[in-house]
Symmetry: D2
Subunit: 170 residues, 4 copies
């Protein structure tokens, strides 16, 4: 796992639902909510993916960006990018989704998953406006808590901005 | 669509969760509840598949058999038998599931789906104890109604059996 | 508890949502689904009352009558007929609801509740077309099973009718 | 409606689930989430009351206090304090609940409800750590948003505390 103070970000092989590959650099100044999921993970499909969609709708006005990351660590032959494309279409997922780069030979874990030491799927990765990883939330996260965690990050940076001389809202 | 009076049945390329391929012939005397589904169909995953599982548990003592039929008519490259195997594993589906035989060249519809004129997925096909197709229920079917339809078939044959000279329960 | 072969029925102090007090005599030929409930019973409010409403909608074409019975056995000062009237209005309950006659002095159980030996609320009482009590279902009853039980009663009498010389559907 | 800058608070006739009547004065330094509800309001029972319970569990460590306020503006004869006591018992509501003081002669609205100009029930009243009313949320409020609103208030005061010379966390 990277130094929590370091912006590290993801390494992907391709993206869906976006023309340009999003990076933490580029998203500096925004809160980034990234959902690491697998298309055949029941808890992702019934819980975390609808949550991610609702986060995008609720928090867009506060400068929050929602991204998906397809972190396949099992059933690799089933959860190919072609299958993912069909899944995104059928479930009407419109936020950008990246494919976590497959690991090296013999490694079932993809690169970003290994980098962040993810325990499994679903996991929400919350990045602050400065690009640092602030939270990893694995498994079922109630909406009340998820809303609170995101709000804390949305406000954190504003506070800092207000504290700085000559500061202001981004 | 076959003559509703004719036992016709399904044509499949392979089965999961069973050693022997189930046939209507073999299941004569039992009510058969067959769920035609696709693994990437949201209404199947959130609604009809849990229903089929509950039907199996609730109606087993009344001689009701639950089967799945994977009727892929879109995203063929995504919903392969390999992907289906992973899906059945992740969703802990334990009733027998057959793969509807792909249609001839250029035909996106698989064979059984075309034979019965299915409108889409999910569809419940209900067969009486005599092997005849009694009902096709497409889309969301409330549990109250599904329970009633299955019970009607479970009792139908018993009645007939009781009416026949020398008859009895199968 | 009355001889299950005997039509016994309910004893009430008043009715809501109907001009005429329903009786088993009068309902002969129909299946009667009676929900014994209390307005401050959480399982009744969240589960059984919405179920009773759905039963009324689903099974009306099959000659099924849905009735409520307010069987107050605790918090008597809170669940008065005046409070019940407000409850029925707020929850938009439109099927007829009777108030189970309070028990004699010192008896917290109302008369019908004691007569049928009800275990508590919610309880569904299912009466066949001949007016006999066929089933008592206490607590949470899944819709699949409730639909099946009601269908069995709906068909039972039809069968009998068909068996009788000169018989037919009512 | 009072000057939003003024601590005003509630006027009640009695409290349940607490020995001491809570006041805004006394709760200074804490965020107060007050749910105005009626015991026979379906949206309160199915939605807002379970939410209030979850808020109490989730946000207790952040210094958030949850209170109920029974603001009866209709069916007064049904929703008496005696009935409320039974309701709180049956629904296992353990946070403090006050009874909004009935309005003067001929006024169906209770005093606090009229003071804050509440539109109906359920309404969440959110008070900041300084005792000021920060938000009124009427009707269904998704958990994601409710969690965010409460978090914003929980952090607001901390920020101020940190900004003040000699300030600190309460």
């Amino acid at each position: 796992m990277p130094d929590p103070g370091e912006p590290a970000g993801w390494t992907t092989s391709q993206w869906f639902n976006t023309l340009e590959e999003p990076t933490l650099e580029q998203l500096r100044g925004r809160v980034v909510v990234m959902l690491a999921f697998q298309m055949l993970c029941p808890g992702c499909v019934s819980g975390a993916i609808p949550q991610a969609r609702a986060v995008a709708e609720t928090f867009a006005p506060l400068g929050v960006e929602v991204l998906g990351l397809h972190t396949v660590f099992e059933h690799h032959a089933a959860m190919t990018p072609v299958a993912l494309a069909a899944f995104l279409h059928e479930y009407r997922i419109t936020f950008p989704v990246g494919v976590d780069l497959p690991g090296g030979e013999g490694d079932p874990l993809p690169v970003t998953m290994r980098r962040y030491g993810l325990q499994g799927t679903p996991t929400f990765l919350l990045f602050g406006r400065d690009g640092r990883l602030a939270r990893q939330l694995f498994g079922h996260v109630p909406d009340l808590r998820l809303g609170a965690e995101i709000m804390a990050l949305a406000l954190e940076q504003e506070m800092k901005a207000e504290d700085e001389p000559g500061g202001g809202r981004g």
